[in-house]
Every structure is written in C-alpha cells, then in structure tokens.
C-alpha cells in the first residue's frame, strides 16, 4: 500500500453572500497517495478551484471553510492557526501554480526577485544565497538563468508559466496544486508545459493536483481523476476507470463532447442546460435536470457514493442500491 499524503474528508466551503449561501464545495472526500497525480475536472463553477483554494487555505472572502477535515501527512491542517499554516505548510509542503500566469506575477519586480523572496522568507537565506537557488530552479524549468533579471513583461506567456512552476517547486514540496496551468497558452507551449510537469513529477516524486476543465489535458498526466459537478464529486477512479469505463452520465457527456483529431467525425454531443445555481441547488441528484437517464428517485434523494469496482466510485442512482 502506498502512503496516503492527503486525505480530504467531508470538505465544505461556502460563500456567504448577501443573496444567500453559495455551497461551492459541498461535502467532498478523496484521498491522494504520495507521488500520485490527481486530476479534478468539471465545468466552470463546479467548485474545482475552490477545492484547491481550500486545501492551501486561501479561500477568498466571503468564502469560508464551513466543515470537514483535511489531513495532510497525517495531521488535520484545518486545525492549525493561520500563522502556523503559513509557516509550516503553505509553500513548504503544499504549493500552487495559479491560474493565469500572466497576472499572477508582480510586474514591478524581476522574476528572480520574486522566486528569491520565497527562499529568503522560508529558509532565512541572504539574497545572494537565494539567487544561487533561483538560477538552478530556472534552469530546471528550461529557462536561461540570465532571465532571472527580466521583468515579467519581457517574458512570453510560456516562460511566465515556467517561472510560476519554478516558484511552486522552489521549496520542493510534496504536493503541488496546479490550477488551470495552461489555459490561455498555445497548444505547442501547453504540450511543453505538460511535459515539464510530467518530468518534474517523476524526478521529484511530487504529488500533483491538476485542476482543469479539459479532460484531454488530465489524461496527459493524471493517475486518478475526480469529476466534479455543482460542488460534489460525482465520479472518482483511476484514469483507466474514468476514461475507458465512465459510469456517471455526466462523465459520459463530458467525454462525448470533446472534439477529437483522430477517428470518425461523429456528431459532437453536448450536455444541454446550464449548471445549477449553488444557492438553491436542485433536490436529489444535482445533475438530474440535465440528465438523459434520470428516473424516479433522482429528483428526490441524493445518490450515495458507491464503489462499482475496486477504486472506482460513482454517485448515481443507476448504480446505487436503494
């Protein structure tokens, strides 16, 4: 048995807005082993980014973690004080590659200074010592170390994203969360960034949580896949389970809607309708208003998560015993 690195149990993250409580993440649980890559997929607004922000405890107000536990290396990191979390977990143990590298870097500092800041704060090194590491990190992500003295606007989108990855890996954390790391990048650059993540993941045995709406991208790297819909995980399993034997009608719909470059041109499928309002989610299974296969229990009771084959979980009444 491989070692469990992250164990999320019943996580609830709600946004307390003036219009009501938005249940962005509503009671989700999953486990991630050391050295594994987990892909979280779903449409925009399904709570995948909020899940990431909850794990690194950066949920923006009016959002708050309303319940659940997140065990990281055996201890509940939600119980730590914000100060203790910042000192001992954030970036040292769990780091993040933010969505939109274009805007995540500070435009008035050189990229070297921004990476060095991380090292100086966490390791207490001088700037000169930190820069030695900066050069090494840039080299590792495939950027000429001289670029450390460049400002973000002098770099291309792909290079900025590499800087973001270098920054996330500086302290060699056991878990890196990558939130849409390649959106807004061109396909060629995207392939290069994915190759880089793959290579670094193998070399450093880092665990990665990759968050994206693009299931093709998750297939590039993930060992396990979680499909989220309206704040819930609806299917969870190994990549083979989810891609080759999708069970939940939502997962099937997502996979059928991907335009493919090879094979027959079949008519593309889509999922009709729009995701529900998370202030007032529909009763029963949250997917039932858009589901082709809904039947009598779906709008009454929420389907339980059932294990359909070892390690493959689905929350759908088609498979659950009542």
């Amino acid at each position: 048995m491989s070692e469990v690195l992250l164990d999320v149990r019943g996580l609830k993250t709600y946004f307390y807005t003036t219009k009501g409580i938005v249940k962005a993440v509503d009671n989700i649980s999953f486990k991630l082993n050391k050295g594994e890559v987990l892909g979280i997929a779903g449409e925009s607004g399904c709570g995948k980014s909020t899940t990431a922000y909850s794990i690194i405890r950066l949920v923006p107000p009016p959002g708050r973690i309303a319940g659940g536990e997140i065990y990281f290396e055996g201890r509940d990191i939600l119980k730590l004080s914000p100060e203790a979390f910042r000192k001992s977990i954030r970036w040292k143990k769990i780091s993040m590659v933010f969505q939109g590298a274009m805007n995540a870097l500070n435009p008035v500092f050189t990229v070297g200074d921004q990476i060095a800041e991380v090292i100086m704060l966490h390791k207490g090194l001088t700037k000169r010592e930190a820069y030695a590491i900066v050069y090494k990190m840039l080299q590792m992500v495939g950027i000429d170390p001289r670029r450390a003295h460049s400002y973000p606007h002098e770099l291309s989108g792909g290079m900025k994203q590499r800087v973001m990855i270098a920054m996330a890996l500086t302290l060699n954390p056991p878990l890196v969360i990558a939130d849409e790391p390649t959106t807004a990048l061109d396909v060629v650059v995207q392939a290069q960034i994915m190759n880089l993540l793959k290579r670094l993941q193998r070399e450093h045995k880092t665990s990665i949580i990759l968050i994206t709406h693009d299931l093709s991208l998750i297939a590039e790297i993930a060992d396990k896949v979680a499909i989220m819909y309206a704040g819930k995980i609806v299917e969870f399993g190994t990549s083979e389970h989810v891609y080759l034997n999708p069970m939940h009608p939502y997962t099937r719909g997502l996979l059928a809607s991907i335009p493919r470059l090879h094979g027959d041109i079949k008519k593309l499928e889509w999922i009709p309708g729009v995701p529900p309002d998370l202030i007032k989610p529909p009763p029963g299974c949250r997917f039932h208003p858009r589901c082709k296969e809904k039947f009598e229990p779906c709008d009454k009771e929420e389907p339980p998560m059932v294990e359909v084959e070892p390690g493959h979980y689905v929350a759908c009444w088609l498979y659950a015993k009542r």
């Binding site: 396909v187 392939a191 994915m194 190759n195 297939a219 590039e220 809607s257 470059l261």
Partner: protein
Amino acid sequence: MSMELFRVEPDEKTILYVKDLKTWFPLRRSLSEILTGKPRKYVRAVDGISFKIQEGDVFGLAGESGCGKTTTGKTILRLVDPTAGVIGYRPRKQLLEQWRRMGYVPASIDKYGSIDIAKIPSKYLKPMRREMQMIFQDPYGSLNPRFTIYKILEEPLIIHKIGKTKKERYELVAKALEDVKLTPPEDFMFRYPHMLSGGQRQRVGIARALMLNPRFIVADEPVSMLDVSIRAEILELMMELKREYNLTYIFITHDLAVSRYITNKIAIMYLGKIVEMGNTRTVLENPLHPYTHALIKAIPDPDPSNRLRIREVPIKGEVPSAIFIPPGCRFHPRCVTLDEHPELKQYCTRREPPLIEVEKDHYVACWLYAKK
C-alpha cells in the same frame, strides 16, 4: 504532383478573396531614431496572404496566438485598414444600390461582380456592415453590461434604420432570440448580460451578428472561452443558422480539433503567412508543412495511456517577434525537418518558399516540396 504556384482565381461561386493582403502596424520611433533617420519599423501582423472563399464555405484560419489570424479577420471587415493587397467581395444588389444613392460607385467591378473593399473610403463602409458581421471571442467582454439584451440587439436595427416602429423592431429581436434558441424570448430580452451564462451570452453575440441579415460572418474563436461541454451546442447552432440563412463563415481558431468538426477548408498561418491550405480533412490527415505537423502533435487527446509517455512535439524555440521576421522561410529557426535535411539550408534561410499545390487543392509553402 502538379507543383503549380497558388494563384487566386475568383469564379462565380467566390464570395470573398484576398490577394497579397498585408496589414502592418507602424511602431513609434524614438527621438534618436528620428534624428538619425532610421527607417520606421513595423509589426508585420499579416504579411502577404492570398485565399478565396466560396459561397457556403466555412473557412478556417488556424494558428497560434500572434500568427495574424484575428488581424486577417478584422482587416477583411475593414475594422483595421490593410497596408496593401486586394480584398475582393461580391456585394448584394441592394448594397450597390445603397452606395449609388450615397453617391459612391466602386472603382471597378470584375466580371463576377466583385469589388475591392480595401479601396472603399471609410465613410461608405456603414451599409457594408449589413452584409458582413463578426462574432467576437469573449462573450463576457463584448456585450455592454449596462444594456439589456433587448437593447443590445435593437441597436443595430436603429443604426441601420430597419424596422420603422418599435413593435416591428421588437418582433425582429424576438425572432433573433428564437433563432439562437433563447426561448421564450420574453424571458431573456430584459435581462442584463451578467444574468446569463457564458453559453447564453455567446448566443446573444451570434444573434447580434445576425440582426442585420448578413451573408458573411467572421467568427473569431467563438467557442474558445466556453466550457467544452457546451461548445458543441454553439457550433451546432452556428451550422444550423448557416443552412437556414445561407451564410458563409470565416472561422478563426487555434483549436484544430474544433476546426475539424466545423470547417471544410483550412489555412494554417504562421507569423503572418499561410504555410498550408486545403480541405480540412486533407490537411489534418495528411499534414505536409513541418509546422502543421507540430501543431497536430501537440494536441492532447483523452487517452489515459498518454500519461506514461512524454509528448514529442517536433518544434524548437519560441515564436519570434513579428517585427524582426527571420529571413527566408520564417519558420526555419524552429524547423526540426530542416535539421534532418541540411541540403535545404541554402534555400530555407535565404528565400521565402512559395505556396504551391502539392496535390489537388492542397497547398504548402515549404522548400521540402517546392522546385528550387
């Protein structure tokens, strides 16, 4: 192999063609550059491209960001002025009539009825907008947040004086909303853009483009900002409207997999030039240009065994700046094929490859195929 040079030859089915189209953006010179008399530099966004579009085509323009595909689309609509070249467009009779009433007679009309819209003075462009419209990429940024959907869709009618009474305009707006399947229309008319989902907003964007009953539409990445799960729905809607209203599209995209489902012809652009062009199926199934090859290799597909291998993309370096375009073939500094064929180096680094026909209706600009 015919090895014929590509030449634009419009015929009776051609609705639009461009010939040696160039759109250059001038850069500001510094004081010292002005004083020392240095020549002005240009961003050569579109640098001499030619193609023709037949009635009913969905013509794909594909390439990475910065290759000039959007500038091409905007130039064709005269939202950006071309630096050189011909944009031939065959207008409807009523447009010619309207121009005549405004006192404008196009300088020349060819035997198929095409005129060069690159030469039309800008004050006569307004009636042309009724025939040529655009669908924008960003459904969040391209709708005025202070206007209701009704107002957004009514505005083009008011500008072009269509629908004399308020009631008539109301009916046209309702009809347009029904066309894009935002039904019942009364439910959507008096909402603001922020109250709609991304897919619904893009439908409004499409409805707005259709308000004036155009025949030619430039769709600039219309689905790239939408979730994968609803892209197909928007694409299907676009195809349905095309059949219903006999539309012709230019479909600008960076996603070759999407273009495979919607376009029948495709041109691959790199740094302002077309490097490969032909029927979409032929180009994607039998890519000839090393750049097209790399683009296709880079696209991920949902196969879980991909995670066990590194994706090989046969391309080096990064896209150079469109100000300092490499001499010869502009792709040569990134070309992996050139490394395998050192004997071609004298051509690739010195002379621009011509766009030649390698098989029927399949054109490529690469010294690997061209006669030296």
